[in-house]
């Protein structure tokens, strides 16, 4: 029995439930408060969204309680805010207080409550849009026309007391345009628009924002047509002028940029630098005692051997040609710049380079005293001659010879303008005009000069050591060679002092005295003893007497680049003057004269003084080895 009753009750209950389910009725779903808003910070409204109503009429109630209070209130006004809303009027609104609001949905089946929503009116202020938006076209006579937009704050907001401070923003666009043009208007309730396109209808809207709240909705559109004769500003003229001036400025800048450098150089020409390499005199003072050639050489301004192009200026010896009628080739006076009646041979017009130390003994001139009545012939003992250069006619009369020499000299120089510096270490084509000279030193110098020889006795105090006394055209050109100006110097080998005498008999007696180093002797070890010429007119016949007090150059200290002798000055007498010569230059151009002492072997036999004369002439060691040994 009991079991039957129980099962029946269960059955009925199940049936009832099923019936209800079949009907679709259920307790209401959970509502949700989705928005609460205050238009003026004095009242606020909350709206909720109902859940599923369960098929039955559902009743919604809103309850709340405030922060700091305990009892719960119900919504005072369900109507004002519309359906599913609750409006809290001023009496029920407290600022700076949290409201905890809940919505309850109830129907026959049951009820459900929403999640509590925590609302503080302070932070939910969103005003209504501004009202009474008016548009007005103003066209004053003496000013530009403009559109005057005016509005009023929303009615509910109390701006006068300062409870809310509003800021406004307007936007406008031509009717057909796609994008709005927005302008911020601050706290003012009017705005002027100046740039408008005539002949179009404009739409304008405005909205506002409280000082710590949200932007309102946009006000309804106001429209105004702009008449066609709405004159725009004359900005076009100004724009045109501005563009034109900008273009002109750009052009000017461009021109200046292109020509700037030349303009600057025109206005401020560059300062020419000094061309003379100076001497470091204090080194000069020191070096003689110590006999250090490096110091000497550095004192003379040449930093290294072989002299580089920097030193060339210093070492240039110029051939001076006296074209004033004097047939003699004059050498520069000792320690003087060759000047008088001499054509400066330097190709460098603005420099007096090369003259510094020694009076430029020119290869063609001889200091004075040795009137070579007999133009001794310079001949390379073994015929060291420039093979490729035609043998000059040594028998030419002096006059013409001299003239020819002179002539050659200028041409030499002229052609070799760039080779004014003697240490032009260029090979073939080295040649120099015949000149008479009296000493080996001359020849040496000559040779050195011609070959661009790097024989640098740069000792200033030494009266003209082996300095190239002429500007020798470097080998590269060989123009002089082509002109047949190659001279061959022949050495007089039968003299005590190996003197390099010019082939021609150019009387050089009247030549300005040159200072140069003459080969004093050749010592046992093959070193050339060169003596500086003491005085202009010193008879060169006796060289042996001179050397004692003169500066002498001792043996070759080293050979550089296999063709340059580095001579070391030696205080002791009877030492061979060192000199360098660019031996290398000659060899390529020189014929391999078996008799000639080829330069290649020179390093092996430093004793032989090789002078490159004309690039092809050599002072054959055997020539003067014989007399001395």
């Amino acid at each position: 029995m009991k079991e039957n009753v129980a099962s029946t009750v269960v059955f009925i209950l199940l049936l009832f439930l099923n019936t209800n389910l079949l009907n679709g009725q259920s307790p209401p779903g959970k509502p949700e408060i989705f928005k609460c808003r205050s238009p003026e910070k004095e009242t606020f409204t909350c709206w909720w969204k109902p859940g599923a109503d369960g098929g039955l009429p559902t009743n919604y109630t809103l309850t709340y309680h405030k922060e700091g209070e305990t009892f719960t209130h119900e919504c005072p006004d369900y109507k004002t805010g519309g359906p599913n809303s609750c409006y809290f009027n001023k009496k029920h609104t407290s600022i700076w207080t949290i409201y905890i609001i809940t919505v309850n949905a109830t129907n026959q089946m049951g009820s459900s409550s929403s999640d509590p929503r925590y609302v503080d009116v302070t932070y939910i202020v969103e005003p209504d849009p501004p009202v009474n938006l008016t548009l007005e076209l103003k066209q004053p006579e003496d000013r530009k026309p403009y559109l005057w937009i005016k509005w009023f704050p929303p009615t509910l907001v109390d701006v006068r007391s300062g409870w809310l401070t509003l800021q406004y923003e307007i936007r406008l666009k031509p009717e057909k345009a796609a994008e709005w043009e927005t302008h911020f208007a601050g706290q003012q309730t009017q705005f002027k628009i100046l740039s408008l396109y005539p002949g179009q209808k404009y739409l304008v809207q405005v909205h506002c924002k409280p000082d710590h709240g949200f932007w309102s909705e946009w006000s309804p559109e106001s429209s105004i047509p702009i008449p066609n004769d709405f004159s725009m500003t004359d900005a076009t003229v100004w724009i045109f002028v501005a563009v034109l001036s900008a273009v002109i400025c750009l052009i000017m800048v461009w021109v200046v940029a292109l020509k700037g450098y030349s303009m600057v150089t025109c206005i401020l020409p560059p300062v020419p630098g000094p061309k003379i390499k100076g001497f470091d005199t204090h080194l000069l003072e020191v070096s003689p005692e110590k006999g250090k050639s490096e110091e000497l050489l550095s004192a003379l301004g040449c930093q290294d051997f072989p002299p580089t192009s920097d030193c060339e200026d210093l070492l240039v010896e110029f051939l001076e040609v006296d074209d004033s009628g004097d047939q003699q080739l004059l050498a520069a006076h000792s320690k003087e710049h060759p000047g008088q009646g001499v054509k400066p041979m330097h190709s460098d017009p603005d420099s007096d380079s090369g003259r510094g130390s020694c009076d430029s003994p020119s290869l063609l001139s001889e200091k004075c005293d040795e009137p070579r009545a007999n133009p001794s012939k310079f001949h390379t003992p073994e015929g060291l001659e420039k093979a490729e250069k035609p043998e000059t006619n040594v028998t030419q009369p002096q006059g013409p010879q001299s003239t020819s020499v002179e002539g050659k000299i200028p041409s030499l120089h002229a052609s070799g303008s760039q080779s004014s510096t003697w240490p032009l270490l260029q090979p073939p084509g080295l040649h120099y005009s015949r000149s008479s000279y009296h000493s080996v030193a001359d020849v040496c110098k000559l040779g050195l000069g011609t070959a661009g020889a790097a024989s640098t006795l740069l000792d200033k105090t030494d009266t003209c050591a082996l300095k190239p006394s002429q500007t020798i055209e470097t080998g590269g050109e060989g123009k002089a060679a082509e002109r047949g100006e190659s001279e061959s110097f022949r050495f007089k080998t039968d003299q005590d002092a190996a003197r390099l005498l010019p082939q021609d008999k150019t009387p050089l007696t009247s030549a300005k005295p040159l200072e140069y180093v003459e080969i004093h002797k050749v010592s046992k070890d093959g070193a050339l003893a060169l003596l500086p010429k003491q005085n202009e007119h010193s008879g060169r016949a006796e060289k042996t007497s001179t050397p004692e007090t003169s500066k002498e150059y001792s043996k070759v200290s080293r050979v550089m680049e296999s063709n340059i002798l580095v001579l070391v000055q030696n205080r002791r007498a009877q030492n061979l003057a060192p000199f360098e010569e660019p031996a290398k230059e000659a060899p390529p151009s020189l014929p391999q004269n078996p008799a000639a002492v080829d330069l290649a072997s020179f390093p092996a036999a430093p004793s032989s003084c090789r002078l490159q004369l004309g690039g092809l002439d050599y002072l054959h060691p055997t020539g003067f080895m014989h007399p001395f040994q």
Binding site: T93, S94, D120, H212
Partner: protein, 230 residues
């Protein structure tokens, strides 16, 4: 002769220099009419004082609001702190108007003193806020910088308010009423949840009180300066 000429030149140059400096000084003075502290007959207008005070209060509230939003977004999500931050501000003991009508009924002297009370109540909490935020692990720079700025501006606003009170009610001896803050131990709790809630609560109260001060000041400004016709 040369000496005289050079001295004349020097004199004229000096005069020119003086003139230029005077002009510059005059210009600079005119743009900043600040009364040196302690001056009795200061002529800075009340309008300027209020304008400056309103600017400061507006700025402080903006900073507080940003700071709270930043903290809420970063640390307080899903923790339900808002449910616990009810009636937890230390300045609630100061009875202040809760809506516009009440505020408009309060006399401006009372309102001014209320403002001062609230401002003074926040001196200590702001100082500790800065210290504790600095000590936080991964102290967020945005929050820290704002806290420092708020502390600084709060001091300036207090000074400005005292000047205003000095002008509106000169000679009134005011008893300094303010609320004592006792939330420091909570800020230094080891438990992270408790500590974070303490920060949240502090920032929440700061946001509210700065808004309150800003609203009162704007009411007072419109009332006193513009005669309720802003």
């Amino acid at each position: 002769m040369d000496n005289k000429g050079s001295s004349q030149k020097a004199g004229s140059l000096l005069l020119l220099l003086l003139l230029v400096s005077n002009l510059l000084l005059c210009k600079s003075v005119a743009s900043l009419p600040i009364c040196p502290s302690g001056a009795v007959n200061c002529q800075v207008s009340l309008r300027d004082l209020f304008d400056r005070a309103v600017i400061l209060s507006h700025y402080i509230h903006n900073l507080s609001s940003e700071m709270f939003n930043e903290f809420d977004k970063r640390y307080a999500q899903g923790r339900g702190f808002i449910t616990k931050a009810i009636n937890s501000c230390h300045t609630s003991s100061l009875s202040t108007p809760e809506d516009k009508e009440q505020a408009q009924q309060v006399h401006h002297e009372v309102l001014l003193s209320m403002i001062l009370g609230v401002l003074r109540s926040w001196n200590d909490p702001l100082y500790h806020l800065v210290t504790e935020v600095r000590g936080m692990q991964e102290a967020p720079e945005s929050i820290l910088s704002r806290a420092i700025e708020i502390e600084e501006q709060n001091k300036r606003l207090l000074e400005g308010m005292e000047k205003i009170v000095g002008q509106v009610h000169p000679g009134v001896k005011e008893n300094e009423v303010y609320s004592v803050w006792s939330g420091l131990p909570s800020l230094q709790m080891a438990d992270e949840d408790t500590r974070l809630f303490a920060f949240y609560n502090l920032l929440h109260c700061l946001r509210r009180d700065s808004h309150k001060i800003d609203s009162y000041l704007k009411l007072l400004k419109c009332r006193i300066i513009y005669d309720s016709n802003c």
